[in-house]
Subunit: 282 residues, 4 copies
């Protein structure tokens, strides 16, 4: 179907720079995202596996200079026979990790009916790439008061991505953070092709904060640092990075998560780049 | 996340030729789909717009030799401000069109909670391309007893497509029909690139019926006939075609729907191809 | 660079339907290509390997109903260390195969300086996909009087493909045959994605004959028949197929070439489709 | 054809890290490229248009901190009716610009027979993206003693790109610089999708210097600075940037070239990023 109808073209989209000229800044427990607030680093495992795993990983994230903890309790998996997450038990482990470290929690929701439960535990709700055009889910998250990280579908265009954010915002939730995480192209040496150009394109067309997930694009831990550097240098407001206290034991994507050894200097590096580009002294 | 886990690789997928060697044949009110049952032609508008529109279109579909009527009452639209469908009123109009013409109904479901309602009216439930990896929706359709047409996501690989069908089947509903409808590539002269090779690939790996939607791939009415011919020649079990009694008045995709003038010879053409390839007399 | 300049937009391109409304028909030793002349089948190995190989393969091509023999004496190989073809010796073997079978010869040229030599032996000169925008080569072939098969670059758009043909024609050689052979997409189950929709698009915009190479798209012998059927059903004027008298011994792409067992019924099948679509009796 | 043959797999490719562990450093009139020599900035117009244009642009490039001047005298244009470059006259203007500014010259060659002439004037020969698999041209450049910038084809994979460099090196010219300039994907908001991940991939597999052309990827001047920052942050050894003294008058790609206003701070920005990442003091 065409993306335009008469009433659609008549109104001013809430996502647009025409609607709001200045950058949106989203405040999550005092951490500011967007509008030149400095790079926000969100780290954590793909899935919450156990209390020990999530707490130990959270401590690494905090120690290395990360600002928030991510981890999935409800997972969208390509196969129905893959591990689907710990569900509410996972949310409770995340809560404990927050109590221990003070890091706010980012966690995914995969079904509209789960939104109230997830919103109870999450400081930011994440919508995964496969659900970018799951409109029932977008609308439900739009009714929540929690900020939302919306990941770009790997086959989705920039206008489709922005209109998916519009679905959330049109229900009343203006706190949307866009996340570029790689698109599917003929080039398959990495898992996806990080579309670094999406950052300036999105910055031009929307006032929303943009973060980058280099981990899912790379698919391999050894490319995560360089892609992170590129993301901050191109103008992203933050990073969503897969960190695991013992990557080799990870139940999903063991090749992709990075350990403290890589995460610590990565945070240093991206802060250096951010600072050198955002200060007037050379 | 990786698509494999230990238990996933251990079992035999229900979609696979290893699980079931012979082609599945799905029976919908006496119309057989798959396994050399002849090409099944499903025609109708993108959206149900009015009683008159759907009944008149249904009569055209029937007159031209089509077997089923499709039409959307719940629509997945890229913009929240586009027409979202008539909802249950649309389902009722479809029911009337069935009463008038006898054609079974194919209609889309976009939210897990709507599955029972849609299944009440539909002879086949359709899952659209954007929802191919909406696992909550897939599972809910898996609990229904209605056959399901699962459309391939425009950015989805063949293995992901098959695993999405597995989600439905693993919940107990074995009546899944796969639908290739074009993928997103650099080539954008048509709306999508019809991946004609997906048909033999899917035939090789699964026992499920495969149909093709040439309308959404083409995006223009004038390419629909030739792509339909290609689809049947490559081995598809049927076609899902956008037909409208007055395409120029269509509320969505007016350039894409075909009228009786094109649909009538199209049905003739694909039947000719099917018959000449499936008889031993030249 | 932009593809437009003032003088470019002012003139009527030789490739366009605006320049010539009716289909071009190219005559090669009495075999007509284009304009509804029936499907022209060109078969043969990727590379000429020996006199025995090319003559035995030519006899299979003829016996099965093929119209021309293809085989490469000069090869464009991805690696400099791969077999680069037999050169002039290969051309001489092709000439012998023509003497034995009467089949006209299609063979590739890869360097501008080789055009006169190749044109001496070839009935049709082939320009491979990697050279579609090798403008020095296109111009040199434009100065030849031999018809040219121009293969589409796997990353090339339809307008770029047509403008590459324009390079040849603008030098005076109007006998250009376009060949769709698959494009590069995220979907890599086959070697390339056959862009079947390119055929109606090219038919609409140019008057040139269009053939399809299903072998390089498929990359696997077992998909060649179904893609060939699709190609003729979508409206192609012919096929360029990799045939080998002993595929398992082929020096390049042994999985891709088909043997007599597959080629014979394939020719029958595509003729059936062509005939049923081009006669008024059902 | 397959990219492998027995002899190909047996030998050690000259491009590989297995053949040479440490980074290659290429010296062009005292300017070092690769191996941590600092970012090399090559700027200049797409085409040499006049003596005045190239000299004034060269002076801007020098003034802003650029190291070399690029400009095309022989152009590969999509349409045969577009401006094809000034030829040898253009080379002479480049030579004058070098005399005036001292900047070494990078200029493109499009035909094998032109290599000796171009090599006489050029300090670095450029092979454009459309010619990446023009093997006759690669071999001829391999016989030259001039360093070569090899641009990646927009539809070419990483292994194909590296093997194209191997063609040059296997003829004896080891001074090859790889240039990522964007690939063709479904995402067409920019002209091409800059494959930023190609840089770490190429760094891992080859010892050759890697530069990035952000201008052809962006297609719009206003994205060039941010993509340049990303390129240096990801680890590129330099940049190839379209600079024009009066972009609005450029005969090709007027929207793409940047003027002094953008180029001056761009050079500052990428130097800041390079320095902050390559010093131990924060």
């Amino acid at each position: 179907m065409s993306t335009k109808s008469q009433d659609a073209s008549a109104r001013l989209n809430l996502t647009s720079r025409a609607y709001q000229k200045q950058d949106s800044i989203i405040d999550v427990e005092g951490i500011k995202i967007g509008g030149g607030s400095g790079p926000v680093i969100i780290g954590g495992p793909c899935s919450v596996e156990s209390e020990k795993q999530i707490i130990e990983t959270a401590e690494i994230v905090k120690h290395c200079g990360g600002h928030m903890l991510r981890g999935g309790a409800f997972k969208a998996r390509t196969s129905p026979y893959s591990f689907q997450g710990l569900g509410e038990a996972g949310l409770k482990y995340l809560q404990k990790a927050k109590t221990v470290t003070g890091l706010p929690i980012v966690t995914e929701v995969v079904a509209p009916n789960d939104v109230p439960l997830v919103a109870e535990y999450a400081d930011i709700i994440q919508i995964g790439c496969r659900n970018m055009q799951n409109y029932a889910l977008l609308k439900e998250c739009g009714k929540s008061r929690r900020p939302v990280i919306l990941k770009r579908g790997f086959g989705s265009s920039i206008p489709e991505f922005i209109l998916a954010a519009e679905y959330i915002m049109s229900e009343g939730n203006l706190n949307v953070i866009l996340c570029e995480r790689g698109i599917r192209t003929f080039c398959q040496e990495m898992r996806f092709t990080l579309d670094i150009g999406a950052v300036p394109l999105l910055k031009e067309r929307t006032h929303l904060p943009i973060i980058v997930d280099p981990s899912h694009a790379a698919g391999k831990y050894r490319y995560v640092n360089s892609l992170s550097q590129a993301a901050i240098a191109v103008g992203a407001d933050g990073l969503l990075i897969e960190v695991h206290y013992k990557p080799e034991t990870s139940t999903c994507d063991p090749d992709q998560a990075i350990s403290e050894d890589i995460f610590f200097p990565l945070v240093q590096n991206v802060n250096k780049i951010y600072n050198v580009l955002n200060t007037n002294i050379m």
